[in-house]
């Protein structure tokens, strides 16, 4: 494994000529998948597809990893995904692990929350890690995978949809060339040029309030927690956020008024006194300063012919809640196995439609949650401000008031109301419903985890079954994980409890770890029918 101290992670890459560029415009190279944009989403998707045996061309218009910390909070779900991609340990080793948040109002604490209050999970609720580290580790991982052809300074300037492929025109330092992809995945960010090329709208809500992000380097004694203030003494009438990153870097986010002049406010000499007021000293250096307004919006359709949008190109949320990069990674894990099946012709192309259905549903949820947080932080009217004031004051003495205080609802996997799920036919009192993400749990007395067993030898459809005399035979191509007798030990019954399992219960998991169906008494035919449905075969 790579050393934990990777401050020197490579972030600058060279352009290299590819033989595809020597082909005539009439006879361009054909590739199954072309991904545009080497950010966290494009990089992760490329690795996932390559691990499934697909050859991937990954294009990026720059030749370096972007500056500034940008996304910093990566969710448990994202870490579990990165475990499957072989980079989870490196991210967690470098990242700052946290699960506790505190909300303050004025001088005093209103309440604190723990996002992962139970033990027995391989990964924490969140890590904080500068986006450039995440990207550097993903690029490193790609260098182990010859099936990925990563081309820097390759800028897509034109697309043309055909019946069986997409023709791309790509600009490089040595001129333009053409390339055909059976599918093109646009992971080219909020200002996606591919989105403009397909002529899709990107409509939604623009929030007028401005927020100042300053990443500062300092040694400080604050705990590794997410601290959020409403109306703090150092920044009267507005909100503030303090969050730790690796390398003694701290993320500070200050709400400014909507009329603040961005050019003036971004000047370090103007930011410094604001931060000094907050920290009570000015022994810090700036790593990054940015001023932004929120937008919450999404594409109407994530699929345009053979061009599929994932991450910020498809949907954009406000940053409070860590729903941007994390939801983009969920897009990647949702799309990867489906695209792999379609390219192998083991599922019809219509399976891809479920990517749009499931992930646009998730985008709506993320937009709804982050819009509510933003409205709570920056009320739109006197009456909204009054209701917020009432909530904050009730929070001091009531439980319900605390739970209404919205300082950001942090990213959790969405629950899909999906055509791929088979509804419950049996009685269940708990456990993840069809359309929900699998839950982690310790196995063999805590020496390993269910998510490890799930990803071992590559993620595939998996039948998770609980001890029973005669195990249900899984259909061909379905992996089996048996818990209990004859399988992985669950001495304290924690796995069974999290899955509300009785002897003989079974869950059919999709390759992205979502529950497709569950059975109290699985039969071969019942499992086979749920599998066909989840594979888009009927």
């Amino acid at each position: 494994m790579a050393p934990a101290n990777t401050h020197q992670a490579k972030t600058q890459f060279g352009y290299r000529r590819h033989p595809d560029q020597d082909r005539s415009g009439q006879n361009p190279a054909e590739h199954p998948v072309v991904i545009v944009g080497a950010g966290p989403v494009g990089l992760s998707l490329a690795i996932d597809l390559a691990q499934r045996g697909q050859h991937v061309v990954l294009l990026d218009d720059a030749d370096r990893i972007g500056e500034g910390s940008r996304a910093i909070c990566f969710s448990k779900r994202s870490l579990e995904y990165w475990d499957r991609l072989g980079v989870g340990d490196r991210m967690v080793d470098k990242g700052v692990v946290w699960s506790v948040g505190r909300i303050f109002h004025g001088e005093s604490q209103l309440y604190q929350f723990n996002l992962l209050p139970e033990d027995g999970h391989k990964r924490p609720a969140f890590i904080n890690l500068q986006q450039y580290y995440a990207e550097a580790y993903l690029v490193d991982r790609i260098s182990d995978l010859p099936a990925i052809d990563l081309r820097w300074r390759n800028k897509v300037t034109g697309i043309e949809q055909r019946n069986d492929s997409v023709a791309l025109t790509i600009e490089t330092p040595e001129g333009a060339y053409r390339l055909h992809g059976q599918y093109v995945i646009a992971c080219d960010g909020a200002r996606s040029s591919l989105r403009q090329m397909v002529g899709a709208e990107f409509a939604g809500q623009v929030f007028e309030d401005q927020f100042l992000i300053a990443d500062v380097k300092m040694t400080a004694e604050f705990p590794t927690e997410r601290w959020f203030w409403f109306d703090p003494p150092f920044h009267a009438g507005r909100s503030a956020l303090l969050h730790r990153q690796p390398d003694d870097v701290w993320r500070i986010d200050l709400q400014l008024n909507r009329y603040a002049d961005p050019v003036v406010e971004k000047k370090p000499e103007n930011v410094r006194p604001r931060i000094a007021r907050m920290l009570g000293h000015d022994k810090f250096e700036f790593e990054w300063i940015s001023l932004y307004k929120f937008q919450c919006r999404r594409m109407d359709r994530f699929i345009h012919g053979r061009v599929i949008f994932a991450g910020d190109s498809a949907h954009q949320v406000s940053p409070f809640g860590a729903r941007g990069a994390n939801s983009g990674l969920e897009d990647a894990e949702n799309l990867s196995w489906k695209l792999d099946r379609v390219l192998r012709r083991t599922s019809p192309a219509s399976l891809l439609e479920s990517y749009h259905v499931e992930r646009s549903m998730a985008a709506d949820e993320n937009i709804r949650e982050s819009t509510r947080s933003t409205d709570f932080m920056a009320p739109n009217s006197h009456q909204e401000a009054r209701l917020r004031k009432a909530v904050l004051s009730l929070a001091r003495e009531t439980e319900f008031g605390k739970r209404m205080v919205n300082g950001g609802r942090l990213s959790v996997p969405c629950s899909y109301d999906s055509p791929l799920s088979s509804p419950d036919a049996d009685a269940w009192r708990g456990g993840p419903l069809p359309g929900r993400s699998m839950l982690d749990a310790p196995i063999a007395g805590g020496s390993s985890y269910l998510t490890d067993a799930f990803r071992k030898d590559g993620t595939a459809f998996t039948l998770l079954s609980f001890d029973h005399g005669a195990p249900t035979e899984a259909p061909a191509g379905v992996k089996q994980i048996r818990i209990g007798e004859g399988g992985l030990a669950d001495p304290n019954g924690i796995v069974a409890k999290r899955y509300d399992a009785e002897a003989g219960s079974a869950y059919l998991l999709r390759p992205d770890g979502y529950v497709a169906a569950r059975f109290r008494h699985p039969t071969r035919d019942g499992v086979a029918a749920a599998l066909s449905r989840a594979q888009g075969l009927n």
């Binding site: 009456q383 009054r386 209701l387 009432a390 009730l394 009531t398 319900f400 008031g401």
Partner: protein, 74 residues
């Protein structure tokens, strides 16, 4: 359970009076703050989003009615 619009208090005048008295001596601004807190407390006590939405709908119809009245008067 649907929103109850039957008369639920044995002595409705007492209930009305209690709310009126709570506002006595408050400025308009304070009254509005008070109402906001009271609405949130009562909404949580009801604890049923469908009932709350129905109640909001019933209250909202007053706004529509008063707008129509204003238009008729003009």
């Amino acid at each position: 359970m649907p929103l109850s619009t039957n008369s639920n208090f044995a002595r409705p005048d007492d209930a009305f009076r209690a709310i009126v008295e709570a506002h006595r001596g408050l400025t308009d601004e304070q009254s509005a703050d008070f109402d906001a807190a009271l609405v949130l407390i009562l909404a949580n006590h009801i604890g049923d989003i469908d009932v709350l939405r129905e109640a909001i709908g019933l209250a909202k119809r007053r706004m529509v009615d008063s707008q129509q009245q204003q238009q008729q008067q003009q």
